[in-house]
């Protein structure tokens, strides 16, 4: 699925001066299967990008198209299907359920499409070093641990695009590399692309291309 941004300008960011190579106000294409870094300083609209491209915000001018169809025309049911099978998101504020355990958070998402078994989910937690947190409530985990749970949750569905909003902001480099490797492997399995927003650090990953805000 190709995502096109046609002169998109979020209304809250309209008064800010954006560079000539900014995605805001320009024509940008997110090509299928590409691994993209979205580089920007704070306050330039990284989260706004996540929310607008995933249809969670509509306060912008211009148009966002999925395969040449304006996302503003999608019905509630179409968005449900898209969120279950085409686009997965790691939000900056993670959006986990703090009162549920890690297990419940992951199974709640996984049961929508049943892509992983319970043991596969446990294995992924193990790969990221938090297997012992399986039965712990998410609200009691550190931010870094929660980020890893949110990443695994985002991977627990089929997708064509994975949009990640500063997903490693609370992780050390070693854990970041583990997460990035897992994300990359899963994207390759699905022939999917991803967009990773960052404050400038590329984590020594070979992206297909970089976009700026």
């Amino acid at each position: 699925m190709k995502i096109s941004l046609n002169k998109v300008m979020p209304i809250p960011l309209a008064s800010i001066n954006h560079g000539a190579n900014s995605i805001w106000g320009n024509e940008v294409e997110l090509l299928p299967g590409k691994k993209i870094m979205l580089n920007a300083a704070s306050g330039k609209g990284k989260s706004t990008f996540t929310y607008t491209t995933t249809g969670l915000r509509n306060d912008y001018s211009g148009a966002i198209l999925y395969d040449d169809r304006d996302v503003k025309t999608f019905s509630v049911e179409e968005w449900t299907t898209i969120r279950q099978t085409k686009i997965s998101t790691v939000f900056q504020d993670l959006q986990l359920f703090p009162t549920l355990t890690v297990k419940e958070n992951l199974l709640l998402k996984n049961k929508l499409t049943s892509v992983f078994s319970e043991s596969e989910l446990k294995e992924k937690l193990d790969q990221l070093g938090i297997a012992d947190k399986w039965e712990q409530r998410c609200g009691l985990l550190s931010m870094g641990q929660q980020q890893r749970v949110a990443i695994i949750r985002a991977l627990a569905q089929p997708f064509e695009w994975l949009i990640m909003d500063e997903p490693f902001s609370h992780l050390d480099e070693a854990n970041t590399q583990l997460c990035l490797a897992m994300i990359n492997k899963r994207a390759d399995e699905l022939n999917a692309g991803f967009v990773l927003t960052s404050l400038g650090d590329d984590h020594a990953f070979q992206y297909d291309y970089t976009l700026n805000l």
């Binding site: 969670l56 509630v76 959006q95 009162t99 419940e104 709640l108 998402k109 929508l112 949750r153």
Partner: protein, 393 residues
């Protein structure tokens, strides 16, 4: 798991208050509707005169005896009565203006013969099927409605003669015969009893038979109308009684007592019904408000579920089904307690000589279904509105 997420950390106090309120409202709603229907049905089937019907005549006083006051009703008086809002209809009771005698004509019952007084009333006042209550010139059998006192008298007579007494049903099988005559001719017509009345002292016959007799066997000028039938409106018998007293009219006391009692009881039940409807309405509002509160407490959860791919309709369904079950339990509990109430109330009424039908009124069940449907609709639309608000947030 969805339920666990959305219904964790509830403040149950408000929920319990709403459930208790709804339960009481529903219980009284079914009970009051049931007894409102049963009280209004009271007496039906045993009395062939329609419900809320009175036979009225003018009070006979000294003036009337001396011929100074009228005891008959003029057309204008009848028309004036019809205009009263608590009276649904007024019709004259026509009496025979010819000689008529009535006798048993059946080998199974002793011979009995007497000159009698027959009357006819508009069929709309009678609770009989129209195909049974018809007669035309040339028909050999005329349908009649006998005063119940006649059966009492007949049974007394049969008992004294050593013959088994007859029930209402058996009495309908006895063959009778009318002899109508004037100075010039005489005619015999078989009569078949189709029902009984406690309220009329004479034998009731179809209007066509009375017209035939009055036309062909009349003894003189037309008889004056000295009795009329009044159909009072439901629950307004108090006003009818007031009207009768004010206008110097009287009716058989038992008719008035039953009518008045039914009016009083109906009014009381209507008040309880009104309170029950308000109770159900208010407690449903509290339940719906609780649902709104629950949804606003779970705004983050609902929003996040939608963002990770949960279909909004499945979230709506989770809330909706939960409240539907709560109201289902309330409704069933209310219905069960109604049966307990009914058991005790029916026993009290039977002990007081008021044997009302023990079947559950259909209207009570309909009211229950309607209340349930309204609640289902309200909870569904509230849940949908709340979820869709988070979808577009």
């Amino acid at each position: 798991m969805l339920r666990q997420l959305l219904f964790r950390n509830q403040d149950k106090k408000q929920l319990i208050i709403a459930i208790v309120g709804s339960f009481l409202g529903i219980t009284f709603l079914i009970t009051s509707i049931h007894y409102l229907i049963k009280v209004n049905e009271f007496g039906k089937g045993t009395e062939i005169l329609g419900p809320n019907t009175l036979i009225v005549q003018k009070k006979v006083n000294a003036g009337a005896i001396m011929g100074l006051a009228k005891t008959d009703f003029s057309d204008s008086e009848i028309e004036k009565m019809k205009k009263e809002r608590f009276i649904s209809d007024v019709k004259p009771v026509i009496s025979n203006n010819f000689d008529v005698s009535f006798q048993t004509d059946d080998p199974h019952v002793p011979y009995f013969r007497s000159d009698v007084f027959i009357q006819t009333v508009d069929p709309q006042f009678l609770d009989v099927k129209s195909d049974k209550w018809k007669w035309k010139e040339g028909d050999t059998v005329v349908p009649i409605i006998l005063p119940r006192d006649f059966i009492v008298m007949l049974n007394t007579f049969m008992s004294a003669s050593g013959i088994p007494q007859v029930s209402d049903e058996l009495a309908k099988e006895i063959r009778f015969k009318f002899t109508i005559k004037n100075e010039e001719r005489k005619e015999f017509i078989a009569a078949k009893n189709i029902g009984f009345t406690n309220e009329v002292a004479s034998i009731l016959v179809p209007q066509s038979f009375m017209e035939y007799g009055n036309k062909n066997f009349a003894l003189g000028a037309d008889k004056k109308i000295t009795q009329i039938m009044i159909a009072g409106k439901e629950s307004e018998f108090g006003l009818v009684e007031e009207y009768l007293v004010k206008h110097g009219l009287e009716s058989k006391n038992s008719q008035m007592v039953v009518g008045k009692l039914k009016s009083i009881v109906s009014t009381l039940i209507v008040v309880i019904l009104g309170i029950s409807i308000i109770a159900v309405f208010v407690s449903c509002l509290v339940l719906i408000q609780y649902l709104q509160l629950l949804m606003s407490k779970n705004a983050y959860e609902v929003r996040t579920l939608i963002r990770i791919g949960y279909p909004p309709h499945s979230i709506v369904k989770t809330f909706f089904v939960y409240f539907l079950k709560i109201f289902g339990v309330i409704t069933l509990s209310g219905f069960a307690v109604f049966f307990v109430f009914k058991f005790f109330l029916d026993n009290i009424l039977i002990a007081g000589g008021l044997a009302i039908s023990s079947t559950v009124s259909l209207y009570s069940i309909i009211a229950l279904v309607v209340a349930y449907c309204i609640f289902a609709w309200a909870s569904y639309s509230t849940a949908k509105r709340g979820v869709m608000k988070e979808h577009s947030a």
